[in-house]
């Protein structure tokens, strides 16, 4: 019995520390109900596809996604032709060719998402000194990941609370650490036209969709991970039972 207590104790220890490490400073984040949450959840591909549209039309004007190749879109249900067409709509520098010159060519599915700015300095000068972070793993790089991104994208306030002066070129955001963010409010109700007319493109809807898209891109293998995990856990559970039975049988007549 004591050994069981120890195991539970160790688990509590692990969770306890994790809990402290995760505690977010400042305001409470609203938690959304994500289809990809929990052990049995999986990415809502339709939402992620809409999210890609938001990313493409809005975010990608300033934010790069350097670690992600266009072929990653295949996992969201885009066809090979669609991915090829999407890649080909961007130009990348390649070379040198036989003449020793660099040249431009349309991107291929194996190329990474083309950056909006050639370098950090260019990105900063175009954004009032602020650097739009790369979005490849943004969901994993923030406390509460997709909840934070959704809250941030919809957390703007036209008039800041009394006594707060918003700096030149900064915007008031409830959820941004320090509340003064370099990114203006980008998502507006009906600011985008979804191909799927049954979904109303409210700002909140767009924020959730693009968060779903970024969640997928931060770890495209996550559905596979959970799927394999369930089978591994089931196996270990059955195996535990078997081992317990073996142990009981062996020790049955042995005083201990």
């Amino acid at each position: 019995m004591r050994s069981m207590k120890t195991v539970i104790f160790a688990a509590a220890l692990a969770f306890g520390f994790a809990g402290t490490a995760l505690a977010n400073e400042g305001v409470e984040l609203p938690e959304q109900n994500w289809p990809h949450g929990g052990m049995f959840g999986s990415i809502d591909k339709a939402a992620a596809k809409r999210g890609f549209q938001v990313y493409k039309e809005i975010c990608s004007n300033c934010h790069s996604m350097n670690l992600v190749p266009y072929r990653a879109l295949l996992g969201l249900g885009f066809t090979e032709d669609e991915v090829k067409a999407e890649a080909a709509s961007h130009q990348v520098t390649d070379g040198p060719n036989d003449q020793g010159e660099m040249f431009q060519r349309p991107a291929l599915p194996a190329d990474r998402f083309v950056k909006p700015f050639p370098n950090e300095q260019a990105a900063r000068v175009a954004n009032g000194g602020a650097l739009p972070p790369d979005l490849s793993v943004i969901i994993k790089a923030r406390h509460s990941g997709e909840n934070y991104v959704t809250a941030l994208l919809t957390g703007y306030e036209e008039t800041p609370p009394a006594g707060v002066t918003v700096l030149e070129g900064r915007y008031y955001n409830k959820y941004f650490p320090g509340n003064q963010i370099g990114m203006p409010k980008m998502l507006n109700d009906d600011g985008i036209e979804y191909k799927d007319k049954s979904v109303k493109p409210t700002a909140k809807q767009q924020a959730m969709d693009v968060s779903t898209f970024l969640t997928y891109m931060s770890e495209p293998t996550q559905d596979e991970r959970k799927h394999l995990g369930l089978r591994v856990m089931l196996f270990l559970f059955v195996f535990s039972g078997l081992m317990f039975a073996c142990k009981r049988e062996l020790w049955r007549d042995v005083g201990h």
């Binding site: 120890t6 692990a14 495209p220 535990s240 005083g255 201990h256």
Partner: protein
Amino acid sequence: MAHASKFKNPIINWIDTRLPLPSLLHHEYVEFPMPRNINYLWAFGAIAMIMLMIMIATGLMLAMQYTANVNLAFASVERIMRDVNYGWLLRYLHANGAAFFFIAVYIHIFRGLYYGSYQKPRELVWILGVIIFLLMMATGFLGYVLPWGQMSFWAATVITNLFSAFPIVGDPIVTWLWGGFSVDNPTLNRFFALHFLLPFVLLGVVMLHASAVHIVGSNNPLGIDIKGPQDSVPFHPYVTIKDLFAACPFLLLYCYFVFFEPNTMAHPDNYIPANPLVTPSHIVPEWYFLPLYAVLRAIPDKLIGTAAMFAAVLVLFILPWLDTSKVKSCAFKPVSRFFFWVFVLDCIMLGFCGASPPEGIWVILSRLGAVYYFAYFLVLIPVLGKIEKPLPRPASISESVLKNSGKPMEKA
């Protein structure tokens, strides 16, 4: 000449008459007498060994894909996550495996403390164990640096800078550790080389640790030595099956984290590429170092704080000689038992202190915690060993077993 071999299998017999490895293994892991009354806490040595094997196997495969260069390391880890077949599995098994290796070893250490497993004649077993613990901490820290995220970089900076606390030689040591004048590419390269090397050194010390325990025999919850065959069971199959069963729930919990909460024990900032120009708002080590980190920060002086942090581990080396008690197991020492559990809570509290910003109540708690930590080893254990009158103990393991289970002492 060659010793008489006892194996039925002719091939094993052939080998054994030329190289007595099968005999050795048979002696140490089949017929080796184990106290029949050991409980499940004794399984954590075997569980730690399983974790070490998982770490070496996954680490080897990760090393084949990883690139130790400041410009490429972060992207190479993401390439492992996205493009290497089951790379995500290898990396999560490895990253969470480190935490679970520490969980197993911490339980193993606390078990040793509670049951007096460090006492004569097991001093060397214990000392080798402390060396393993030190090697684990070094390896864990080096590994944390490799993904080259923000926490990697800043943890490397903070920890290596501790050596600058030493007067005169401090700064040259830090420069020597870095291989330059800041944490940079040479640092990452050597950290990778050492992170690859140390687990094998660790494995060597684990073998010594196991050899030493097989000379003096395992301790048990009563802390009374085996007096005859009626007190023991053969290692195989009795202890092997018990360890194997005990490993299952442990691995189940481990797999839960690997597959469903793979990043919960890590810090999100480590998914931001290292940037020497941006300091994270608060730098924390991996959770398994937090109690020591709290001891470090409890003392306002850098040199004394660093010394205290090292002393917190080094004090374990002299524990066998600090304990003046003739009785090993806390089961017979109610006062010692009480202070042992206070010590466990103290370590957990120090963990929370290490995770919190060093201000307000946390500073006070860190200091109280650090004082109790050292007082437990340097005052309570030596004094209680002298003055506490232990409860009456059974004459032998078999006597106690017979009384508790009422089962016949069938010779196994």
